[in-house]
Amino acid sequence: MTHLHLAVDLSGAGAHPAAWRTLDPDQRRAAVDTLTGHVGTAVRAGFDLALLDDSFTLAPAADRAVRGTLDAVLVASRLAPVTSGIGLVATVDTTHTEPFHVAKALQTLDHVSGGRGGWQVAWSTTPAAAAAFGRKDVQDEADAVDEAREVVGVVRDLWDSWEDDAEIRDAATSRFVDRDKLHYVDHVGERFTVKGPSITPRSPQGQLPVVVRVGSPESVELAGRVADVVRIEARGVDRAAELVARVRTAAAEAGRDPQDVRVLVDLVVVLGADDGAARARRGLLDGLAGSAFAPATLQHVGDAASLVELVARWAPVVDGFTVRPASLRADLPLLADQVLPALRAAGLAAAAYPVRTGSTLRDSLGLPRPASRYAAV
């Protein structure tokens, strides 16, 4: 049986808007210490990768639960030296950023993590983000997604602009690099041009895995065209199967092997020792939030055993799951202690990390490591 790919979203305090309100007094701990603990639990669980969301703007001011955000690449880089095994996927915008900076920031995450970096591609269509930068008018979805496509393309060119063996340290000829192995990308696009090469040498993975969250039809096309990992939201298997088919079709239309995209469905979990306990937790969280939490995707409120059954039912339809614990503090330990071990025992998930320490995120995802596109054949 094929192993499912398992990602965990570690954004905020969890998927549920009231998750932070059930934190114990220990919440005075620095955010980074708390997050380091969560990543440690995610490693223990054996997730392939952890996702960190990011945005240039606060959630609507009316939402008093807004917490503020830290730059996701910097958070991931801060976590890298004190974690191992798990991929660290940072969200980076393409609408208001410089592609040259985006490329080297992610390469550097890959360098400091020993090849565990990944990029969750984002784009901005809000007036608030446009006003924060003051450089462009607000863009609609089609325009922003098209720009994202162009940015991903040039970032990938920059990631390849140094061949792997460009650094030669040839004392005899006093040459540190072989300049024939450094390539100008010479990107000339409608929106911007970038000369290159990157300032940063080719990173351990060469190409970081790219994650795209699907929502709009434009994003489906983008996902098919550029993504290694695609996140879909679906409440039922039929909807999921339909989205998977659309993504695979988009990949084929872009000239790719449809199986090259790994489609993961978002799965919100509220876990408990038994179904009753889980429902009680859910009730408590909804009560604090003042309304029922209704994510636009699959949700499991129950015990570990029933979650494993659900995963087994969905396994034929998707390539894996992006688990979104309702509360990181409460749900991650249960995932680590009960859920993922059971998935491994059932042959649904790959072996845990001690076997895989030192491997890259591409290795975890079953992606081969490509040579630079500029390398002479």
């Binding site: 830290l70 801060r78 550097t108 006003a131 041009t193």
Partner: protein, 457 residues
Amino acid sequence: MTSKPRKQIHLGVHFPGVNSTTVWSDPRSGSQIDFASFEHLARRAEESKLDFFFLAEGLRLREHKGLIHDLDVVGRPDTLPVLAAVAAVTQHLGLAGTINTTFNEPWEIARQFASLDVLSGGRAAWNLVTSSDAFTGENFRRGGFLPYAERYERAAELVAVARELWDSWDDDAVSPDPVSGAYLRPGSVRRIDHVGKHFQVRGEFPTPRGPQGHPVLFQAGDSPDGRDFAAATADVIFSLHSSFDDGRTFYDDVQARLAAAGREPGSLKILPATTVVIGDTEAEAAELARHIRSQQVPGATAIAFLEQVWGRDLTAYDPDGPLPDVEPDFDGADITRGRARHVKDPRPVVAAWREQAAANGWSIRDLVIAVTSRGGFVGTPHHVADEIDRHVQEDASDGFILVPHLTPGGLDDVLDRVVPLLVERGSFRAEYSGPTLRDHLGLAHPDAVRRPAALAG
């Protein structure tokens, strides 16, 4: 009689960069890009209780005669992710990095520095560099859009907007109240609305204020505009003037500008970059320094350096032979892109060099070694400690940024053998006294920001 406490020395380490100061041909030379190298230097600096670790930046690979320059180290990481990673393996060491003010936008860069300050517990510093050339601009959306004369104006406005953004969150904005459901104290985050010549920035900043309030600001430009900018805006000047006399002159000049800007003496620290070479005897140290200089200037590097001045190709000349018998090409286009051109009219310089070379019997290589030497401290550990201390006690500087020639261990013996001597004489800390970089540098924290809570309802 109580003794006046000695003026405290401030010390940083500079991770080796991409000019010929860095020797890569030595077998002990390690990777410029592996995290292990950054970790090594940072941990050693923290063991010796240094103020900060410094990382420079590059935004375009240097070119010489139209080709990528391959004689020096090439390739560097992105500054801020490395500093964030170094934050994970250190507890007190300041984390300073160069970030360009022309090819960055305030909302994004202010977020990144606030994030680094939060993630490090208050240790972030920003070295402001204003380069704006079209060559570098080819990697960015707007190209070489900024007139050279406006670079400090843009930098000043960028910093002003960043400060407004950092100040838009109260220090205690993050006050989770599980009962009321408010994560932020009501009224503790304010919109900003900046309309200026270079920037229009509006909105609610999404990132909490770091423990330092504002990251420490370094400034590195030496021109009069640069010094005025530092006097108005910066907390630290990263200076080029490491010799005693030059240092004294620069120090007095900057203090005068500081006073004219209405700031307190001591609110701007002056830190020259310098190299340090130590030996068990003066002779041993001098010999090691000579050896390092010859490693830094192999023949090809010497030729390339002269080509920058002559403005023409000189590869036909033997580096161990006499100076080129041709005249410099005064009208030659900039033959080297990506670094500051130091020589405007080469002819008097070349004439002076010919005289020196003739008087000393120097080859091309000998001459280049001689004219590119930047001094630095050379001697026994005691002699070097005496000199460093003298510079600081007599106000030729407030300390130094130590630059190794070898990555990553080039300062290990200096940290082991010189710093304890400074501690012994009471000129350098034996322990960190506070958690933030502002604490280490003796800088005030910006005024706490707290607005009265909004009325309920």
